[in-house]
């Protein structure tokens, strides 16, 4: 395990890729509950590799990359990231149920500009940080869409008239409301997922099965499981 940039699933312990950002807190809480000591991770904002705990930290959208290559055996990231990187060769093992948010189509309040553009122009312009999810959504609906990929605040794009609508992730809907955007459709509900490298899953199956069993037990014991997922539930966006 000395080789941090190892190409394959090195023998030895399981290495877990943990997302920094909005999912970090609940991820570490879960790891604590299953007996992995995360003190060092909590105390270090800048450090990325925690050999003692078997944890590496990174932005959520990098988690599938590290897990697919085998540099991490397991990873935790949002379903939004997995949908956007659907071509990755990895296993989706468990729904961790936290970090719940929604991938939505939203446009400026008032008459729906998407409908108007469809009717009059036959094509709609959509701004998003999730070009693959947005394209797939409109292809399924048989709608011709021009997907405009933006990196920063997506909400700006429809307000300036650059696009008719956005496809974006929302947890509470506050940012959308503040920008006078309303949700027109829900594309997917996204929660945190546990993913695995296909080779690690076979070669380190005992360690991974054990970890999975502990997670399932921790989830069953979690009082939040009883509360219906909804606006009052714990909400976090993966958003980076």
């Amino acid at each position: 395990m000395a080789d941090a940039a190892g190409r394959g699933a090195a023998s030895g312990r399981v290495r877990l890729a943990v997302p920094r950002g909005a999912l970090l807190g609940e991820t570490l809480d879960l790891l604590d509950r299953i007996g992995i000591d995360t003190t060092e991770v909590r105390e270090n904002d800048r450090k990325l590799l925690f050999e003692d705990a078997g944890i590496i930290t990174m932005r959520p959208s990098d988690v599938p990359t590290y897990v697919e290559s085998g540099a991490a055996d397991l990873g935790i990231t949002g379903k939004d990231v997995l949908l956007e990187q659907a071509e990755r060769e990895l296993y989706e093992l468990a729904d961790l149920r936290f970090g719940r948010c929604r991938m939505v189509l939203a446009s400026v309040a008032g008459p729906d500009r998407v409908e108007e553009a469809r009717r009059r122009l036959g094509v709609v312009r959509i701004a998003t940080k999730y070009p693959r999810i947005a394209s797939a959504y409109f292809e399924r609906a048989g709608v011709q869409a021009e997907i405009v990929e933006v990196r920063g605040s997506v909400e700006l794009a429809p307000l300036t008239g650059m696009v008719e609508a956005i496809v974006d992730l929302t947890a509470t809907g506050t940012t959308l409301r503040e920008n006078h955007l309303v949700i027109r459709d829900e594309i997917a509900v996204c929660t945190a997922r546990l993913i695995a490298n296909p080779v690690s899953l076979k070669l380190k199956s005992a360690a991974i099965d054990d970890l999975l069993a502990r997670i399932e037990t921790a989830q069953d014991d979690d009082p939040r499981r009883l509360t219906a997922p909804g606006p009052s539930g714990p909400q976090t966006a993966t958003g980076e």
Binding site: G6, R7, G8, S11, G70, E92, P198, L203
Partner: protein, 320 residues
């Protein structure tokens, strides 16, 4: 700038060529000793030859010849060898044994290090039914990986028909079965469980069916009783006949899937800690030969030689 190779293809220069050649020689020694004869077929085949074989791993590159016929670059060697058997071995004594080391061509994501053209080495055993044909091929597979120099590899063994027949026994209809197998092929256990929950099944049955693709381990998992009992027959027969050297490499995996559509029974896949993705695999394809006029049971495997090479280098690094 245009004078480089197309993306997803590359030149192999003498240093690497020397290593690949040495690796190929080690494999060849095992294949020869096991009684397999080397075969070469054209990289180009008529489109019709591959047209019955759907799946994600089918041919991706088509060309027109000077008469307007559509030709494809072969996406594997199994289909061309099945064609050869139909063409040239109509009355031959069985079984037939072939080995090859040859490039195949598939759609790829070149940016992720995947190759459009990649070297495969493998064997096909034609006219040898389960379980003995399967066992022979698995034994040769493990011998060739050992001869190649890998020390830590494992071979996952599953059965492509197992899950579908189990679902059918629980009354899951064809449409739903296809949907579930597609989710399973994407390795999305969460979506499989969700889809089962939505079907017309008791919660206990849905939970049982969701758990089956997760079952993997040593021969002890083949002892399962209840509804799984009958479905495990083929795997048990294989296990009973494996050479000890092969048996210690094997992981039974009831969720194993392959991206090729022609497999019919027991399938396998090679894992090594030196590489993050499987090095190759194979399985039984008892219906493919009928497409070429010779309905014969058959089984084979193919290794991705470049991945095997990377894994060997990776094992050196892990051990060193």
């Amino acid at each position: 700038m245009a004078e480089w190779t197309p993306s997803g293809t590359r030149d192999v220069l003498p240093d690497e060529m020397q290593e690949l050649r040495a690796l190929g020689e080690r494999l060849r020694t095992v294949f020869d000793a096991a009684g397999y004869g080397e075969i070469r077929t054209p990289a180009l085949e008529n489109e019709i030859t591959f047209s019955r074989d759907g799946g994600d791993a089918g041919p991706a590159y088509r060309v027109f010849d000077e008469h307007g016929n559509v030709l494809v670059l072969r996406s594997d060697m199994t289909v061309p060898i099945a064609r050869v058997v139909g063409n040239r071995y109509a009355d031959a004594r069985l079984p037939l044994r072939f080995w090859y080391e040859a490039p195949a061509y598939r759609a790829a994501h070149p940016r992720r290090g995947e190759s459009r053209e990649f070297m495969q080495a493998g064997i096909e055993l034609i006219g040898a039914p389960a379980p003995h044909g399967t066992v022979e091929v698995l034994n040769v597979l493990c011998e060739s990986l050992t001869a190649a120099g890998l020390t830590d590899f494992k071979v996952g063994i599953g059965d492509v028909s197992l899950y579908a027949s189990l679902l059918a026994r629980y009354g899951v209809d064809e449409r739903q079965r296809v949907k579930l197998s597609r989710l399973l092929a994407r390795h999305d256990f969460v979506a499989v469980a969700e889809a089962l929950e939505r079907m017309d099944l008791s919660p206990a049955d849905a939970e049982l069916l969701a758990s089956v693709p997760r079952i993997h381990g040593g021969p002890e998992i083949l002892e399962a009783d209840g509804p799984l009992d009958a479905a495990l027959g083929d795997l048990r027969e294989v296990h009973a006949a494996l050479a000890p050297e092969t048996a210690r490499r094997v992981i039974y995996d009831l969720g194993l899937v392959r991206s090729i559509d022609y497999y019919t029974g027991v399938i396998f896949q090679v894992y090594d800690p030196g590489h993050g993705q499987p090095l190759g695999g194979g399985g039984r394809y008892d219906n493919l030969l009928a497409n070429f006029g010779r309905p014969l049971p058959a089984v084979g495997f193919a290794l991705n030689v470049e991945r095997l090479h990377i894994a060997l280098t990776g094992e050196e690094r892990i051990d060193g």
